[in-house]
Symmetry: C2
Subunit: 267 residues, 2 copies
Amino acid sequence: MNRFDTETRLTEGADGSLHGHVHSAWNIGANPNGGYLLTLALAALQRTAPQHPDPLSVTVHYLRPGIADQPCELDARILRTGRTMSTGRVTLRQAGEVRLEVMAALGDLSAHAEPVLSLPMPAIPPLQDCVSRADSGQGLELPILDRLDIRLHPEEARAGAAGSARVSGWIRLRDGREPDALASVLFADAFPPSVFGLLGVVGWVPTIELTVHLRRRPAPGWMLGSFQTHDLAGGRLIEDGALWDSTGHLVLQCRQLALVRQAERKS
Amino acid sequence: MNRFDTETRLTEGADGSLHGHVHSAWNIGANPNGGYLLTLALAALQRTAPQHPDPLSVTVHYLRPGIADQPCELDARILRTGRTMSTGRVTLRQAGEVRLEVMAALGDLSAHAEPVLSLPMPAIPPLQDCVSRADSGQGLELPILDRLDIRLHPEEARAGAAGSARVSGWIRLRDGREPDALASVLFADAFPPSVFGLLGVVGWVPTIELTVHLRRRPAPGWMLGSFQTHDLAGGRLIEDGALWDSTGHLVLQCRQLALVRQAERKS
């Protein structure tokens, strides 16, 4: 079994409650990565709606940081199940306090529909010309890079270098486990914050809320992510992103509201 | 008292429960407009966190259509309150069934921050050159136009005419009540679906999930909305939108996942 599956595995208590363990291997600095915590929550929801395995629309609010190397409890409930879709919510708790509150619509993306409209995959340099996120000078310890292999566009790979709030690059699980819908959601929150190309070293940019729309199950291979901030005011930014699979198909769109404390300017 | 405030007014039961009434004046066809139902839910949440009056991030899942001319029950609870923000959720029920499930982060947007980055307001023709939504040939009865005055860009105002999935125009409450944060959220779901410019008459496009990010309280006057669908596949679309106030400042961004049954093409 690979690390992603092992480290997002849930166990069921005698009373039906679901439990996981937050592994510090997925940390950004001292905090568990938000995307990783979200996959734990979604794994719980998937168990409650097995006929609708794919998250179509996921929104998470991060109420408190997760705690690395500690267990977590998942409280998942389905609010409605229809023919093509189930809607549910999950609460992830650690040390008795709510960390994540998640709402999601789940469906089945096994049938690929030919898109009428889609976002074209941007052209970025091939893998061998990209720069590891480990060398991006983000001013944070990144244990998560032992789990994720992230190669950034060479012109966007260093803090402050791009001159714009954009970051793109290639991503996969380091142990070769192929991407699926759940891993794609993790990838949506694994790149450096796109403002770092504009503002330089910004430290940890805590996500308030993240919404991911899954459009297709990814094909095997590296995925390409592209993220951009068009809207930054009052110390809060809205970052838009998308991920494509190795066949060039759009897999997801995402958007997050996050805090950037350095960027605050009151008028 | 104006109609928007009157028709989103809540009453509190002896047990602290909150109740409203879904007025058919806000219908799209036979169904209450989703944005209107959302304002009822948000009004309930605002009561529970009076120190944080402005919705910063709102996500709603529409589980079942609302029922016009019927009461609704609101179950609002705050999950966490911090110094600058509260996070909560609300369930809107009618006839004993969940219709809307809402999650939101609330804060205070009374201090206007000078944006570091923002979305520029698009140039569209002045009000007198725009076309009432009533004349847009959308193939639906639109009682809501007795409450909302919506004037569409003349090149995007008729089903199928634009040749692209874009719609923009001016909007305000018809009785002259000035916009605020809550009315802006309603405006985010009040324009014709932007695919109607590409696909022609599409009928009702039911929203599965809508997320709105409020960036600023609007100034008095007409607001400008612009909406576009870049992603349509498998009978589901993702529509991006934004609203600006009469001073040209960005007030909100929004994105929704919705169903378009005609557009389905299986491969």
